[in-house]
C-alpha cells in the first residue's frame, strides 16, 4: 500500500507542485523591476557674479534650495540657476540612469538599489559620469529630507552643483 502511495505521489503530486510553482512564477512579473523608490537629480549653477545673457534661458533656483546651498561654505554663491532636472524610479535590482541635462549626456548619474537602510533610507550604488567618463563611484544612503550635494565641474565661470534627493 505504501509503495502505491509513493507511486501516486510521484506521478500526480510532484507534477502538480511543479506546475503550480511555474504558474505562480509566470503570473508574477520580474520582481527586479519593482520600484523601491524614486530619486531626483537637479543640476544648478552657482556664481557670485551675475551670469551672462546665456543664463536667462534658465530659471532662478528656488529660495529654499538657494538658502540651503548658501549654508554650505563650498557651495555658497550669490546667484543660482537651475539647468535641469530628472526624476527616475529606483528598481529593486536593475540599474537606472538620471540625465538632468536631457537630451545632453554630459552629466549622467547611474544608480542601483542596495536595499533599505533604516526606516526611511535607501542605500544606492551611485556613479557620477561626466562626458561619458566615470568620475566617482559611491554608496550613499539617501533620505527624503537629506539630499546628496555634489560640487562638480566649472562651466562659463559658474560652479556646477548636482543635488540628488530621494523623493519617494
Amino acid at each position: 500500500m505504501f509503495k502505491h502511495l509513493v507511486s501516486l505521489f510521484a506521478a500526480l503530486v510532484l507534477p502538480c507542485m511543479v506546475t503550480g510553482s511555474a504558474l505562480a512564477e509566470q503570473s508574477e512579473s520580474d520582481t527586479g523591476k519593482e520600484v523601491v523608490g524614486k530619486i531626483k537629480a537637479t543640476l544648478y549653477l552657482g556664481s557670485n557674479s551675475e551670469p551672462g545673457e546665456w543664463a536667462k534661458d534658465y530659471v532662478v533656483a528656488g529660495q529654499e534650495m538657494a538658502s540651503r546651498l548658501r549654508g554650505i561654505e563650498q557651495m555658497s554663491f550669490k546667484h543660482y540657476r537651475k539647468l535641469g532636472a530628472d526624476v527616475q524610479p529606483v528598481f529593486r535590482s536593475y540599474e537606472n540612469w538620471l540625465a538632468p541635462l536631457k537630451p545632453s549626456e554630459e552629466i549622467l548619474l547611474s544608480f542601483e538599489s542596495r536595499g533599505r537602510s533604516g526606516a526611511d533610507g535607501l542605500r544606492l550604488d551611485l556613479e557620477f559620469w561626466q562626458h561619458r567618463r566615470k568620475i566617482m563611484q559611491m554608496n550613499p544612503v539617501l533620505k527624503s529630507d537629506k539630499p546628496l550635494l555634489i560640487l562638480g565641474p566649472r562651466w562659463r565661470g559658474c560652479s556646477m552643483i548636482i543635488a540628488i534627493e530621494l523623493i519617494e
Binding site: 506546475t19 505562480a24 540651503r68 554650505i72 557651495m75 537630451p103 563611484q137
Partner: protein, 202 residues
C-alpha cells in the same frame, strides 16, 4: 526345504550374525558355515570386541543437562509458533479491512494532497520579502575615484542635513560647449566613445 549348511548366508543374515542378534536355526546354520570361513569368524570377534569396549565406556542412556530448562524452551517455541499463526490471522484480517477502507479513501486523499501541493507550489516564489531586512551599515558613504587626478572631499555641514561632496581636480567644461540641449558630445576626441560599463563590484 531346508537350506544346506555350507550355503553362504545372505548379507542381512551375516550382519545380524556379526552383531550377535541371530538366533535359532539361522544361528546354527551360519555358525556351521563360519567354521569353514575363519576370516568371518575373526571379523565377528573383532566387531564384538569393539562393541564390548563401547558399552563399557559409554552409558546406555544419558540424562540431558538442565532438562527442565530444555523442556521449557521447547514449550515456549511451540507457544510462539502458535502465537505467530494467530497474529498472522489477525494481520490478514486487518489488511483486508484496511484494503477495503483504503480503496474508498485513496482517491479523496490523493485529491486533497494534490490541492495542498498545488497551493504550496503557488506559494513558491522568487519574490523577495516586501519587508526586506534592513541593512545597517555605516552612514558615511564609501567613495571610489577611478580617475586618480580627481579627489572627493566629504563635508558634513552643520544644521543642513545634506551630505556634501566636493570634487576637486575636475576638468572644466569648455565655455563654448552648450551642455544643455546637446544630445551628442561635440567636444574633444572622446565624443565617439561608446559608454559601456562592465565593472564588477564586489
Amino acid at each position: 526345504m531346508k537350506r544346506h549348511d555350507d550355503q553362504e548366508p545372505n548379507p542381512a543374515e551375516l550382519t545380524l550374525w556379526m552383531d550377535g542378534e541371530l538366533t535359532g536355526d539361522d544361528l546354527a546354520r551360519v555358525e556351521s558355515w563360519a567354521k569353514n570361513n575363519p576370516e568371518y569368524l575373526a571379523e565377528r570377534e573383532a566387531i564384538q570386541a569393539m562393541q564390548s569396549d563401547i558399552r563399557s565406556s559409554i552409558p546406555a542412556s544419558v540424562e540431558p543437562p538442565y532438562a527442565d530448562f530444555f523442556n521449557q524452551r521447547i514449550l515456549r517455541a511451540i507457544e510462539d509458533k502458535r502465537g505467530d499463526v494467530s497474529e498472522q490471522k489477525l494481520a490478514i484480517g486487518f489488511a483486508a479491512i484496511a484494503g477495503k477502507f483504503s480503496k474508498w479513501l485513496a482517491l479523496p486523499a490523493a485529491a486533497v494532497a494534490m490541492l495542498i501541493c498545488f497551493y504550496m507550489g503557488t506559494q513558491v516564489s522568487l519574490a523577495p520579502d516586501p519587508m526586506a531586512p534592513v541593512v545597517k551599515v555605516s552612514a558615511k558613504p564609501a567613495i571610489y575615484m577611478p580617475d586618480g587626478n580627481v579627489r572627493a572631499n566629504v563635508v558634513s555641514p552643520q544644521n543642513n542635513g545634506a551630505t556634501v561632496i566636493v570634487l576637486e581636480g575636475l576638468e572644466d567644461i569648455p565655455d563654448d560647449f552648450d551642455i544643455v540641449g546637446e544630445p551628442h558630445h561635440g567636444r574633444g576626441t572622446r565624443s565617439q566613445m561608446v559608454m559601456v560599463s562592465n565593472e564588477m563590484i564586489f
